[in-house]
Symmetry: C2
Subunit: 233 residues, 2 copies
DNA sequence: CATCTTAATTGTACCGGTCTAATTAATCAA
DNA sequence: TTGATTAATTAGACCGGTACAATTAAGATG
């Protein structure tokens, strides 16, 4: 494991375990350097990570402080802990409605940057959280990249399979979201009424070499979904 | 201006002007170092900025490539171009419904980390985009920080006033969002029907020293609002 | 011509340093 | 005690370097 990632983890655990409050001061850079026996730039990188995750904030001339943002029930949409963890955790309870190899829609082909003649794995499923239906999800996986899928893999963790099983490394995702009304079909799956609010999220996942491999359209139950974002100004 | 910020801007402009497509390769690190006459770490920092903004992605052993994610009508929820620009741009068309000094609600006091006896500036307004009502917004500004506000300032740019006029430096924001149904009152302001979907966004803006100074609750017209997020995995 | 091996390319981790800017603490003057 | 001045603290910008890992290109091999 990389040094700066390790340091970031250690610091985050420290904050967690000692239940440090918002504004609590962490050791200064010099001390952290000595404590972990690394150079300044390594500590700085670790802190940048934590800043991006919203765990700390730094004030020049003053110090490094704990930033508290936790709200129960909210899911972070940002770096590391964000989408990945969320997908992994919620994977646990999910019901596969469809799984087959087919030709992509024009929309999917466009987003995956493939031809409409190329094959894709199509997956449709419902995800549950706390026994409630959380969302309805449709995914298109480029078959030339994700060469094989089955029900077991989907029920476990697709992303784990892609990294561990296929040896691919996932890079980044572009996510578009807007609010709309549920169609009759969606309402049925989510056990809500037609015309009720929905949060619609479209994501394009890319390998770390920039190739898109997964185009997903997710319709969230508005009652169950709340998100958390960190903005920098 | 900082060197690495300047480099980031230059590169972004270059990509924009030359209309570089997704996957287009940029000059290698060595060349960028020479081109801008700076050290490797400075170029790297510039590229980190651009990566965070979703403008480029880097592949070790391969190069630096353009990342395209533009979608018409979507507003980025992330770094730099995100909330700040959005707030500034949409400031143009807004109608102030209320502006006064009052005591904060318990909720506002909690989020601003002040006592319910402290004064706040309360601002309620509607924002318009393309002639349509975009959102209904309620803001609480800690009066001990934002010492004075008037209608002109609000109609211009509050954030500009805070940085330029008051000499404060804005740091970061925590944003929580969920979807719900419009109340009768909200529906009236947004020219929609009660029970229609709404996107509800709560933000706490902080100075760069960590002090919260603005707690905002925004109800978006679901027809007019769509957002864009970048996730790292 | 395909396949394996090797070498060159290129971004990333990490070091250890200087100098600067913001903040905070200490000092001094009124 | 207050307020201004100065000094110490502290994070951040920036340099220039070494070593390393992933990718790509070139060469060798069958």
């Amino acid at each position: 494991m990389l040094k700066y990632q390790h340091i970031a983890d250690e610091l985050e655990n420290y904050i967690e375990e000692h239940k440090l409050q918002q504004g609590a001061k962490l050791p200064v850079l010099q001390d952290l350097m000595r404590q972990f026996n690394v150079s300044k730039s390594t500590v700085t990188k670790a802190l940048e990570l934590l800043e991006k995750k919203g765990v700390v904030f730094q004030v020049r001339g003053s110090g490094i402080f704990v930033r508290r943002h936790k709200r129960n029930g909210y899911i972070s949409l940002l770096s590391n802990q964000g989408f990945k963890k969320m997908l992994e955790e919620f994977q646990l309870a999910s019901k596969v409605i469809a799984l087959d190899v087919r030709k992509p829609t024009k929309e999917a082909a466009l987003n995956l940057n493939i031809s409409i003649d190329d094959d894709v794995y199509y997956v449709k499923r419902i995800r549950f959280i706390h026994g409630q239906t959380l969302c309805l999800e449709e995914s298109y996986f480029t078959k030339s990249i994700v060469t094989y899928l089955n029900k077991e893999i989907i029920t476990e963790s697709i992303f784990n399979y892609i990294t561990e099983g296929l040896g691919l490394s996932i890079g980044f995702a572009d996510t578009f979201l807007h609010v709309d009304k549920l169609t009759a079909e969606e309402a049925q799956y989510l056990e809500l009424k037609e015309g009720d609010p929905k949060l619609y999220v479209e994501s394009i996942f890319h390998l770390s070499n920039g190739q898109p491999f997964d185009f997903s359209k997710v319709t969230y139950n508005y009652v169950q979904s709340q998100f958390f974002i960190q903005a920098e100004l």
